[in-house]
């Protein structure tokens, strides 16, 4: 168990609910991931009359912590309105604050993000900001009241993994008190494990699972990888060496090298 915001949960994997081939596969994948926290959004009901009700009932049946997002917002004002609506709709003061500054990279806008964070913290929200790996931005978000920071690993949906591990490693070193979650860009279990090995507190992902050929298996894989990475971080990774070190003991090796017939072939 570990503490995120005001709650104790088991899993360090946070998972999204979008892009699955079917609601049933979504459910099975989320269960297989063993996640305790799932992200959702707010949208107009769709033209075909679907009112989100069946999705919502399905999701509620999983009995997980809900983390609504403000995906699609481009300004602090929009994001604040969306957050307020989310609080009423989902009955939670948690909000994944996502304000896009560029439509191609879906990069967070650091300026609007800080502005909205200040307002939402003042209104009692627990803000989970989707942010860049910019240390100065991250420090300002913490000063504004964030306990949790969610820097990107790579742009949303690219599956590139951690494109700037140096920056992420520095974030972890410099912000030991923050709850740090890599959000976006994870494409494979090895990426998720790498983030956890660095000491990140969690990983949030969606596309890599939902768009796998077999989302349920991939969800399970991601859950295992996050556990593996955390265990390894706690177990203390061996330091990387530049030169080889034998694993098998050399003491007690037979000295056969002086036999002429044993001469190496070179």
């Amino acid at each position: 168990m570990w503490k995120i915001a005001d709650r104790e949960v088991s899993s360090r994997l946070l998972i999204g609910s979008a892009l699955y081939p079917s609601p049933e596969i979504m459910c099975n994948a989320i269960k297989a991931s063993q996640s305790d926290i799932v992200t959702v959004s707010l949208r107009r009901q769709s033209v075909d009359g679907a009112d989100g009700e069946s999705f919502w009932q399905l999701l509620k049946s999983l009995d997980l912590n809900i983390l609504p997002n403000t995906a699609g917002c481009h300004s602090a004002k929009e994001a604040i309105t969306t957050a307020l609506m989310a609080r009423e709709l989902f009955g939670t003061h948690w909000i994944k604050l996502e304000i896009i500054g560029d439509d191609y990279s879906l990069q967070p806008d650091p300026f609007a993000l800080l502005e909205a964070t200040k307002e939402l913290v003042a209104q009692g929200f627990e803000v989970f900001p989707y942010c860049t790996d910019d240390l100065v931005l991250c420090e300002k978000l913490m000063s504004a009241g964030c306990q949790i920071l969610m820097p990107w690993g790579a742009p949303i949906g690219t599956g590139k993994g951690l494109i700037n591990p140096y920056a992420l490693r520095k974030l972890r070193q410099r912000l030991p008190e923050a709850t740090l979650i890599v959000d976006a860009g994870i494409g494979a279990p090895s990426h998720a494990s790498q983030a956890m090995e660095m000491g990140f507190d969690g990983v949030l992902l969606n596309t890599a699972v939902a768009q796998a050929n077999n989302p349920e298996s991939m969800a399970k894989a991601m859950g295992l990888a996050v556990s593996a990475g955390r265990l390894a971080y706690e177990a203390g990774l061996m330091p990387e060496q530049d030169t080889a070190q034998p694993s098998t003991p050399t003491l007690g090796t037979p000295f056969w090298h002086h036999y002429p017939e044993h001469e190496p072939t070179r």
Partner: protein, 72 residues
């Protein structure tokens, strides 16, 4: 009276407050079906549920009525 509901122009009776407007949507021949679970913004400002009786819609108001949806 004309307002914009989720991006589409709709005609509604005058002087309706939000509460009444939503109740009218439960009619079988309403423009849209009222979702069971939703949150509301009028002119991009959030309106809490408790305020529905107090909000009188105006000509040209922009009403957003959002429901739970998948998200990442």
């Amino acid at each position: 009276m004309n307002i914009v509901l989720n991006g589409k122009a709709v005609e509604i009776p005058e002087t309706a407050n939000l509460q009444a407007f939503f109740e009218s949507l439960n009619n079988e021949d309403a423009a849209i079906t009222l979702p069971r679970q939703f949150a509301v913004a009028v002119n991009a400002q959030f309106v809490p549920r408790s305020q529905y009786p107090n909000i009188i819609l105006q000509e040209g108001d922009d009403l957003e009525l959002l429901v739970p949806m998948q998200g990442g």
